[in-house]
Amino acid sequence: MLRGMSLSQADELPPSLSVAAHELKSPITLMRQLALVLQDGDLSANERQRYHHQLQIVADQALQLTTDLAQVANLQPSLFPLEPVNPIAICQSLAYETSAIARLYGRNVSWPKARRNTILAVANPHLLRRIVANFVDNSLKYTEEGVPIEVKITQEGDGVRVAVRDYGPRLSLKEYRRLTDELVRLKTIRTRPESSGLGIYIAARFAEAMRGEIGLVRHRDGVTFYVDLLMSRQTSWLS
């Protein structure tokens, strides 16, 4: 797919301010509406509690996006040092964190389970975490309710691949070619026709900061996004 194409050689075109503004506008608009609804004196205690919970989820999403954007703008190696990282541990904590939003979207995300022979990746734990979170977020938004989303970790030669497979709308060949082109050139990456692709762009930049790269596989019934990282020679019991 994208193997052999170095993102470090890419013609880096950052997403426009309008793309970032649009992505931020969406949760802020929803927070405003939830705040207005919460002023309704006729709400039941249950409704009030549910709207509060939703407000918190949306606020967390908006805050995370602004944090991601700030970090993309300042990806200095000293701020995000690389170390041996257990991707399964990252996934297990993300499984807990994303459970509320997955429930909200009616999706079932399956996460890799702990195993005896853990593969370690050369990564920054925070950046890897945000890459996987952005992949999962993308899948939550672009799949139908009830369909599974799978997170997998595999050894690929001398590297480690963390992949998120969804069963969303099939990508047309034209969309697929555009997407791979955008990935290679690190442009704003629109993962589906109506996506701004900011999350995948952020993931691509974070992967690059870890000397890795992201890519995608087109399936008949969905898409896999993955990040390839160098494998650490550190033994797993040190992780």
Partner: protein, 122 residues
């Protein structure tokens, strides 16, 4: 009881719009894509369709085009519920769109009223 089909891929927005409909005593069904909406419409004709324009798989425009191509579906009033600031209402009116509500500006009471007026044919 009047019925509304809400075409919205964000579950929180879908829940909020359902609540606005309930205030007007309108029963709701949610479809999270134009395809799901068309599947629903093959068996049920709602009194109003509330449509988000930026959907995951296809745009709301795809559904408007589909609706316009069917005799019965083209008669259903459509309320656009969107965060796009630059929609041309005059152009959309030809697709049966009765009103455009801006998510960034609309008040809940206004949303209920506009959806209610379209459903009850006021």
């Amino acid at each position: 009881m009047k019925r509304a089909l809400i075409v919205e891929d964000n579950p929180i927005w879908a829940e909020l719009i359902s609540a606005y409909c309930r205030k007007e005593k309108i029963k709701t069904q949610v479809a999270n894509s134009p395809q799901a909406a068309m599947d629903h419409l093959s068996g049920h004709l709602p009194d109003v369709i509330v449509l988000d324009m930026l959907l995951a798989a296809e745009t709301g425009m795809a559904l408007l085009n589909e609706l316009r191509s069917h005799d019965d579906l083209s008669q259903i009033p459509v309320i656009i519920f969107t965060s796009i600031d630059t929609l041309d209402f005059d152009n959309l009116a030809a697709y049966g769109v009765k009103a455009v509500l801006n998510k960034a500006q609309v008040q809940p009471e206004e949303a209920s009223r506009v959806i209610g007026e379209a459903a009850y044919g006021k």
